[in-house]
């Protein structure tokens, strides 16, 4: 599914986000990178409709997202925050089940089908057997995977992940990004992530979007768009791009 952005803007507290035109392709992983304060998270929240945006700013496969009701929208676009804002100490399974909200009536409870989907999602992200554990007892990395599992049961084609690798150790970083790739390739989902780690971004993305000061500076496949001039422009820092054993590294 294609997510198109057209004339999206959002301002708060003197900061202004403005994106003229951008397309996120299906079956791809697109990473949004940039320095702190570039507006990456804000942009992602606008894409998720967590923050409001104008009509026709966002469209999915040509359909204007502003005109889509909450339930429908949730089935199109799934949002995975860095950390849940607060939670009671639900079990992992109960937590994942909340992702089925768009499919369950206001006065109903999850059915056996919903529970099965939740268990499958947990299995997919590699957390089978953890279903009954209290959510707050999990490590940071495991919690992140649970959040992704919840987005999965939403059955949304477009997944937005906010800094999915922050505060994770290298192994979990690799696991999480590997999961993103699998979702894009095996399940044909449109994956959009914000990342700090440039190396991860280059390794795992099909496309990259560079942001600075609330605007998109460049976008495109990593090999095509990545230059040292761009990096100096975006990060205000001299960096050398080094290829080594088939991978790209950045030396500051």
């Amino acid at each position: 599914m294609k997510l198109e952005v057209r004339n999206l803007s959002f301002s708060y507290d003197g900061f202004r986000l403005a994106v003229d035109s951008l397309v996120f392709a299906g079956s791809r992983v697109t990473s949004i990178v940039g320095p702190n304060g570039a507006g990456k998270s804000t942009f992602l929240k606008c894409l998720a409709s967590v923050l409001p945006s104008a009509r026709h700013a966002l469209s999915v496969d040509g359909k204007d997202l502003a005109g889509v009701r909450g339930k429908e929208r949730a089935r199109l676009v799934g949002y995975v925050p860095q950390e849940p804002a607060f939670t009671f100490n639900y079990t992992v399974l109960d937590f994942v089940l909340t992702g089925r909200a768009a499919f369950i009536g206001m006065f109903s409870s999850p059915s056996g089908h919903d529970v099965r989907l939740a268990e499958e999602a947990l299995h997919y992200v590699g957390l089978n057997g953890q279903a009954r554990r209290p959510f707050l007892e999990l490590s940071s990395g495991e919690r992140r995977l649970v959040l992704i599992a919840r987005a999965l049961v939403q059955e949304s084609e477009i997944l937005l992940l906010d800094e999915p690798t922050s505060f994770l150790d290298p192994r979990h970083e690799v696991e999480t990004m590997g999961l993103c790739r699998r979702l894009a390739e095996d399940k044909a989902k449109t994956i959009i992530v914000t990342l700090h780690n440039l190396e991860m971004a280059v390794r795992y993305s099909d496309a990259m979007v560079f942001m600075k000061g609330g605007r998109v500076v460049a976008s495109g496949p990593p090999r095509g768009v990545l230059t040292e001039a761009l990096l100096r422009d975006v990060y205000d820092l001299d960096m050398r791009i080094v290829e080594c054993q088939g991978q790209t590294f950045f030396v500051k």
């Binding site: 804002a85 009671f88 109960d94 206001m106 209290p134």
Partner: protein, 332 residues
């Protein structure tokens, strides 16, 4: 649900009914056990004429016990729902100003309108006013916890002050009636009042029980719930409205009975975890049971009636402390 919790759930629902039947035997007028059964199934006394047994069982004890059940369920379910909604385990009906709004309404009615008006209507009306005020004062921030709780504190303080004003101007006999009502009592349970109040409470509790899974989703926070496709504003308004109406209906008959809405949901979460699919119905059952037991003490422990508001604290808090100490794990 595992087998163990399934068993627990069934036991919890049976508990208030068992307690109801047992409590029918308690009271200052001693009725022998076999007479209790004979009266319940027979109806009238053998000698004919108005029988004290039938009057006591059906007109005094039964309405009182039913009121205890329903009020206990109402307060507990409302408290549990509000805690989930505001993501704060310290929230209960008191925090939204409902208790003092209802108290003020009843006071106004008892003191100035006198016998002609039932205090229930005014209690109900002002509880709603209190909640509306809370949301209006919170304004655009009504979706966030802290502003709403602050507004709740402000509105509670406002109605407490107004209540003091009413007490100040009340003549001494209206004042006595008012103070007694404020302490909370189930002694005035008569079928006339209950015929209106119980169905309202029943409906409110039923709605919140049906909504129980949705509370899991809403308890994640406004942003996340919205991202999951929930119409947060509408559903929060629904929960707040139903919790308010249910609590106000109960408070308008019983007076202010505090702590039930705070303690019972916590006890339940300590026993079965935070999933509202279990917490909400079990809170109803446990709240009903707790209030029956408290009322049993209130009317049987001494020759005079102990106000039940005092007893709910005395019964609930130590139990709560024991459970808290025993379970090392988090009780959120």
């Amino acid at each position: 649900m595992t087998k163990k919790t399934g068993w627990l759930v069934w036991a919890s629902f049976a508990l208030p009914l068992v307690l109801l039947v047992l409590s029918l035997n308690l009271g200052s007028y001693h009725i022998p056990l076999k007479e209790v059964w004979a009266t319940i199934f027979g109806g009238t006394s053998a000698a004919g004429g108005p029988s004290p047994y039938a009057d006591i069982l059906f007109r005094i004890r039964l309405p009182r016990l039913l009121l205890a059940m329903f009020a206990g369920a109402a307060l507990s379910v409302s408290g549990a729902s509000l805690q989930a909604l505001f993501k704060n385990p310290l929230v209960f009906e008191f925090s939204l100003g409902i208790s003092y709004g209802a108290a003020f309404g009843a006071a106004l009615s008892l003191v100035f309108l006198g016998r002609g008006f039932v205090p229930q209507l005014a209690a109900f009306a002002f509880a709603v006013v209190a909640v509306v005020l809370v949301l209006v004062i919170a304004g655009k921030s009504a979706s966030q916890i802290v502003p709403v709780l602050l507004s709740g504190v402000i509105v509670s303080a406002l109605f407490q002050a107004l209540l003091s004003l009413v007490e100040f101007f009340a003549n001494p006999y209206a004042l006595q009636a008012l103070i007694f009502w404020l302490l909370g009592s189930l002694s005035q349970a008569v079928w006339g009042d209950l015929a209106v109040t119980l169905p309202i409470i029943g409906l409110g509790v039923a709605v919140l029980v049906l909504f129980r899974w949705r509370l899991n989703v809403l308890s994640l926070g406004d942003e996340e719930a919205r991202a999951l496709g929930v119409n947060v504003r509408r559903e929060k308004a629904l929960v707040i409205a139903v919790a308010t109406l249910t609590t106000a209906a109960a408070t308008s008959v019983t007076g202010v009975i505090n702590w039930v809405g705070l303690i019972v949901p916590h006890l339940v979460r300590m026993m079965v975890g935070a999933d509202n699919r279990k917490v909400i119905p079990l809170s109803a059952a446990l709240g009903a049971s707790l209030l029956i037991v408290a009322d049993d003490f209130a009317r049987s422990a001494a020759s005079f009636e102990i106000p039940i508001g005092i007893l709910t604290s005395v019964v609930g808090i130590p139990f709560f402390i024991v459970l808290l100490k025993r379970s090392g794990k988090t009780w959120l």
